[in-house]
Amino acid sequence: MAIDYTLQEGVAILRWNLTTSPMNVLNDDSIPVFVEALQRAYDDEAVNGIIITSAKPEFVVGADLKMILRNQDQDPAEMLEVSAGLNRIFRQMETCGKPIVAAINGTALGGGYEICLACHHRIALDHPKTRIGLPEVKLGLLPGGGGTQRLPRMIGLQAALPLMLEGRDVGTSEALALGLVDALAATPEELLQKAHDWIKAHPQPLRPWDQRDKKSGRIVAKDRFQVPGGDVQSGAGRQVFSVGTAQVMEKTRGNYPAPRAILSCVYEGLQVPIDRGLAIEGRYFVQVARSKEAGNLIRTMFLGLNKANKGASRPASVEKTDVRKLGILGAGLMGAGIAYVSAQAGIEVVLKDVSTQAAEQGKAYSRKLLEKQMAKGTLSPEKAEKILALIHPTTQTTDLQGCDLIIEAVFENRALKAQVTQEAEPMLAAGGVFGSNTSTLPITGLAEASAQPENFIGIHFFSPVDKMNLVEIIVGKSTSDYALAVAVDYVRKIRKTPIVVNDARGFYTSRSFMTYASEGMELLREGVAPTLIENAGKLAGMPVGPLAVTDEVALDLVYKIAQQALQDGASTEADTSYQLSKQLVELNRLGRKNGAGFYEYPAEGKKYLWPGLAELFPVAASQPSLDEVKQRLLYRQALEAVRCYEEGVIRTPLDADLGSILGWGFPAYTGGALSFVEYLGTSAFVQQANALADRHGERFRPTEGLRKQAAGQ
C-alpha cells in the first residue's frame, strides 16, 4: 500500500504511505498507486476536492534515483515517455477541474515538491525539520516533473532560477516568503482544516497559466502567460539569462550539464504555453539523466556516499560499538576540530594538552564555531551550552581514564607520538582503541610504541575538521577488525564519511593528491605559463590550482616528504617536487604560511602568482593547449588512485572515489579519481595515458591492470 485514501466532508484525502521504503518516494511502486487514487477522486462525484499529504513525518522526498540509473542506457524515446507519463499525471491534477491542495506535513523535495507544484494550493506545516526545494541539480539532474516550468511561472525567473541552479532547499518560513508555499499551518489539525477551507472557497481553481476554453469549458494552457517579475524576453529576462549563465559557468566551469540545461528549460519553456514548456523540459531531462555526469554523481555522491556512511567498509563480524568518551591529545587546530565534531555528536571529550592555556584554547575553538551558529539562529544557546559542557580541557593524563577511544593529534614527530601513546594508553577503558591522526607517518611503525598494537589505528581527519566530511581510517599491520569497527562506528557517529586504507607511504589521499601538486610543478619546470597551469587545474574542476595548493601544503613540508622519499630510495635527485621545493625553500618561500611561495600574499588584497617565477622558470615560447594541461593534471591523480587500488592501499573502488572527492576535491562529475578512468572509457584512457607517457615520462604509463582491462582481458 502506498496511498491511504479517505473521504472526509466531500474531500478525498490521499496520504502517501509507502510501505516498501522508509520514506515516501516516487517510484515504480508508488506512482501507479498514486495515479489510481487520483483517478478514484476525479471519478467520484461525491468528491469536491482533493488533499494530498503524507502519513509519514516527511511528505515525499523525491524520486527513486535507482530508477534513473536503471534507465540510463535505455532508448531515449522510452525514457522520455516515462518522464512524459509523470508530467501527464501532474498536468491532469491541474486541469481536472477539482481543487487539489498539497498539505505539506513534512519535507518535500524534488519530485515530492513537484507534486505540490502541480496542486492548486500549497500549505506547509510549520515544522523546524521541514525542508522544501528542488535539489536535483546536486545529483546532475534537473527537476523533470514540471519543476522548471511551474516554479518560475509561480515566483518569477529571478527567484526560481537560483533555487534550482543551486539545488537549495529552504525551511517553511523562507518557503512562504519566496512563494514556494502559499500558507503555513501551526498544527497538523490546522493544516487539514486550512486545506478543507481552501477547497470550499475555491471550487473551480485555475492556475495563472491556464484558462477555461470558452467552447468546451475545459481547462487549457494560456497561449501567452506573463511571468511574474518579467518575461524571458524583457529587460529583466535579459539580465537573468546573460548574467545567470555566466554565474553558472563560473561556478561549474562548464563541467556539469545539468545547470545549463535548467537555464535552457526556463529560457525556452517560459516563452511558450505550459504544455509545450513541459515537453521542452522532458527533452532536456532525458539528455541530462542519460549523461555520464549524472550517472557518476548518483553512483558516487548519492548511492555510494549513503553506503559508505552506513559503514560499508566496516567488518561485519564485529558487533556495533559506541564511543561515549573520547580522549584527544593535542588541542591544536586538528585536536580542537575533532573535539568540536565529537561533542556535537554527544560524545564526552577530554581535550588534553601540555598547558591549561593550550587546552582551553582548543575548547574556545568550539565556542567560536557554536557562537557563529547561534548568530545565524540555527542553534539555541541551551544546546550550545550542552555541547560545550561535553568538552573538558585538561593537562592531566588521568582525566583520560575510561576513554573508549583516544586520538592523538600532536606534531608529526615519531618520538613525541610514541611518548604520548605510552602515557595515555593505560587510561583506555577495557576494549578501548588508540587512534593516531597522523597524515604522513606509517601506522605500523607508530603502533610499535603501543602495548596493544592490535588496538592501534590511524584516524586521519582533514582540515578544517568541521567542514571536511572525510575521515581516512588507516589499518596497520597488527590492527584488528575490532579496532577498525570502533573507528568506523565512531566516524559514523560524528556523521562523517569513513574510508579504509592500508598502511603505506602517504596512505591513499595524501599520496594521490600530491601528484596534482607534483604535476603542477612538472608543468612549471617545463616552462608552461603558471597562470595557465593554475587555470587549467580550476577549469578541470579542482577547487584550486596545483601551485596554490602546494603553497597551502607548504613547500618545506613538500621538501621534507620529497627528502624522505629520496632517503627511502622511492625517488631520485632529479625528482621535480624535490628540486622545486628545495629551490623555493632555499629562497625562504615556504608557501602561504610565510606569505611567500609560488604566490605572493599581500597583507591587503588577493594573492597573486609570484612574478619571480618567470626568472626561475622562464615561460616557453610554445605553450600546450588548455586541454592538454587539464588532462595531465587529472590523469596523474587518476593513475595514482588506480595504483593505490591495485596495490591494495585503498580497499574498495568506492572508497577510492569518495576519498578523492571528499578528501582532496577531485571533481565529482567524474565520479571520483578511480571512476575517472571509466568516465573516459578505459581504452581511451589507456591510449591517452600511453601517449602522455611517451611525451612526458613514465609517470603517465598506465598500469598493467589497466592495459589488460583496456584490452578486454
Partner: protein, 402 residues
C-alpha cells in the same frame, strides 16, 4: 565590372544619446528623413532614378522597427518607386549598407542607391532587442559570450594596454575632434537638424568636450568591473586561461559615447551619375567582412583590413588615411599595434570616443568623414573599418576619383 561610385555623403550631427541630448526629442525617422531630404535637395536629385535606400539600424524595434528605410523614403517624399531596406550587422551596419550597395552596383544589379544608417540610442535602447546571441543560455555558455565592455577590457588585458595609455588615446580623440570642429572640417557632410519651426536643434557633434585630458579621464571609474565580477569575467577567461584576471580599464570617457544620428551616401554607377550630371567623388575600391573569435569579439578590424588590402592589391603603406571605429580605446590601439599603422593617420579628426557611436549610422558617418578629409588633404586612398558584435570585422577601401 561596373564601378561603385560615391557621389555625395550627408550626415546629421551626433547628439548625446541620453534624455538630455539635443536630438532626444527627434524621432529616428526624422533623423533619417533629414539625410534623405538633404541628399535629394543638394544634388537636385530626381528620385525616380533611385532604385533603393539601404539603411543600417541595429535596434530595429519600436519606432526603428518595420523597415525604417522604406518608411523614410515615404516620409521624405521620394518617388514611390524607390524601395528601402533596413539591415543589421551590428556596429558595422552603416558600412555594411555601403558595401552591399557597392556589391549591387558592381554586379550591375542596380544603378543609383542611397546607403547609410540611423540610430537613436536615446530613444531605442541598445540591447533592447535581446537576441539569442546574448541571452540564450546555450549560446552564452557554449561560446562564452560576454558584453562588449568586458571584451574590450579583455583586449587591453591580453595585449597589456594600461589605463593611462588608453586614456591618452581617448584624450587625443577629444583633442583632434575639437580641432576638427574649430576648423570646420566636417562642414561638407554635416547637416544641421532643425525643429518644425525651423529652429536649430543641433549643428555640431555634441559629445566633444573641450579641455578633456588624459588626467581628467583618469578620474573616471571603470565601467565594467561590477559586471565582470558577476561571473562575466570568469566566463570570458575560460577561453583565455593564460590570463589570471581581466583588468577593467575602460570607462565612459575612453569608450564610444551613446549617440543619436543618421547618415547616407549617394552611390551609383558612372552611367547613372552622368545621366544626372553628378560628379563622382570616390569609388569603392574593395570591401571585406570576417568572423573572428566571439568572446574577445572586437579584434575583427585587423583581419578585415588585411583581407580588404589583399583584395585591393594594396599594402598598409598605400593607405593615406584610416578610420578605425573607436568603439573602445583598446580597439584602435590594438589595430595600430597589430598592423603597425602610424597613429598620425588614424582617426585624424577624432572618433566615437569624442563624438559618439550611433550604432547603425557610424559606418556611414566614418566613410563620409574619411572622404571629406581625403579631399581636404588631397589624398587618394582611405580605409574604414569597424569591430562588430558577435566577433566580426568589416573594412572598406575608398579611392578618390576625378
Amino acid at each position: 565590372m561596373t564601378e561603385a561610385l560615391i557621389y555625395d555623403a550627408v550626415r546629421t550631427p551626433r547628439g548625446r544619446g541620453k534624455a538630455d541630448g539635443a536630438l532626444h526629442e527627434v524621432p529616428p525617422l526624422r533623423l533619417l528623413t533629414t539625410v534623405l531630404e538633404q541628399l535629394r535637395d543638394r544634388n537636385q536629385l530626381d528620385t525616380t532614378y533611385l532604385d533603393d535606400v539601404l539603411m543600417g539600424c541595429v535596434t530595429p524595434l519600436g519606432e526603428q522597427g518595420a523597415d525604417i528605410a522604406r518608411t523614410a523614403v515615404l516620409a521624405a517624399g521620394y518617388a514611390e518607386s524607390v524601395a528601402g531596406v533596413q539591415l543589421n550587422r551590428f556596429c558595422s551596419s552603416g558600412l555594411e549598407a555601403i558595401n552591399m550597395a557597392a556589391a549591387y552596383l558592381r554586379a550591375g544589379q542596380t544603378d543609383l542607391v542611397i546607403a547609410g544608417g540611423v540610430e537613436s540610442m536615446s530613444r531605442v535602447a541598445m540591447g533592447s532587442d535581446g537576441g539569442a546571441l546574448f541571452m540564450d543560455p546555450a549560446m552564452v555558455a557554449a561560446h562564452n559570450i560576454v558584453p562588449q565592455g568586458i571584451s574590450a577590457d579583455l583586449i587591453a588585458t591580453r595585449y597589456g594596454y594600461s589605463r593611462a595609455e588608453l586614456d591618452a588615446l581617448a584624450a587625443e580623440s577629444y583633442r583632434r575632434a575639437e580641432i576638427a570642429q574649430r576648423e570646420n572640417r566636417f562642414a561638407k557632410s554635416l547637416v544641421s537638424v532643425y525643429d518644425a519651426l525651423g529652429t536649430l536643434l543641433l549643428g555640431h557633434d555634441e559629445g566633444v568636450r573641450p579641455g578633456t585630458t588624459a588626467e581628467s579621464l583618469g578620474k573616471l571609474k571603470p565601467a565594467f568591473e561590477a559586471l565582470g565580477q558577476q561571473g562575466l569575467d570568469a566566463l570570458a577567461l575560460m577561453k583565455y586561461p593564460e590570463l589570471s584576471r581581466i583588468e577593467h580599464v575602460h570607462h565612459a570617457g575612453n569608450s564610444s559615447q551613446i549617440a543619436d544620428g543618421a547618415a547616407g551616401l549617394l552611390m551609383g554607377t558612372r552611367a547613372a551619375g552622368e545621366r544626372l550630371s553628378l560628379k563622382p567623388r570616390a569609388r569603392i575600391r574593395a570591401t571585406a567582412v570576417v568572423g573572428s573569435e566571439p568572446t574577445i569579439m572586437l579584434t575583427g578590424p585587423v583581419p578585415a583590413a588585411q583581407k580588404v588590402l589583399r583584395r585591393a592589391g594594396l599594402s598598409i603603406r598605400d593607405i593615406d588615411l584610416w578610420e578605425v571605429n573607436e568603439a573602445f580605446a583598446a580597439v584602435p590601439m590594438y589595430f595600430m599595434d597589430a598592423l603597425g599603422v602610424d597613429p598620425a593617420v588614424v582617426n585624424v579628426n577624432g572618433g566615437g570616443i569624442a563624438m559618439g557611436h550611433p550604432l547603425g549610422a557610424t559606418g556611414a558617418i566614418l566613410t563620409a568623414t574619411l572622404l571629406d578629409e581625403l579631399e581636404r588633404r588631397d589624398k587618394t586612398l582611405g580605409l574604414v573599418t569597424l569591430c562588430i558584435g558577435g566577433g566580426m570585422g568589416i573594412a572598406t577601401i575608398i579611392e578618390r576619383v576625378n
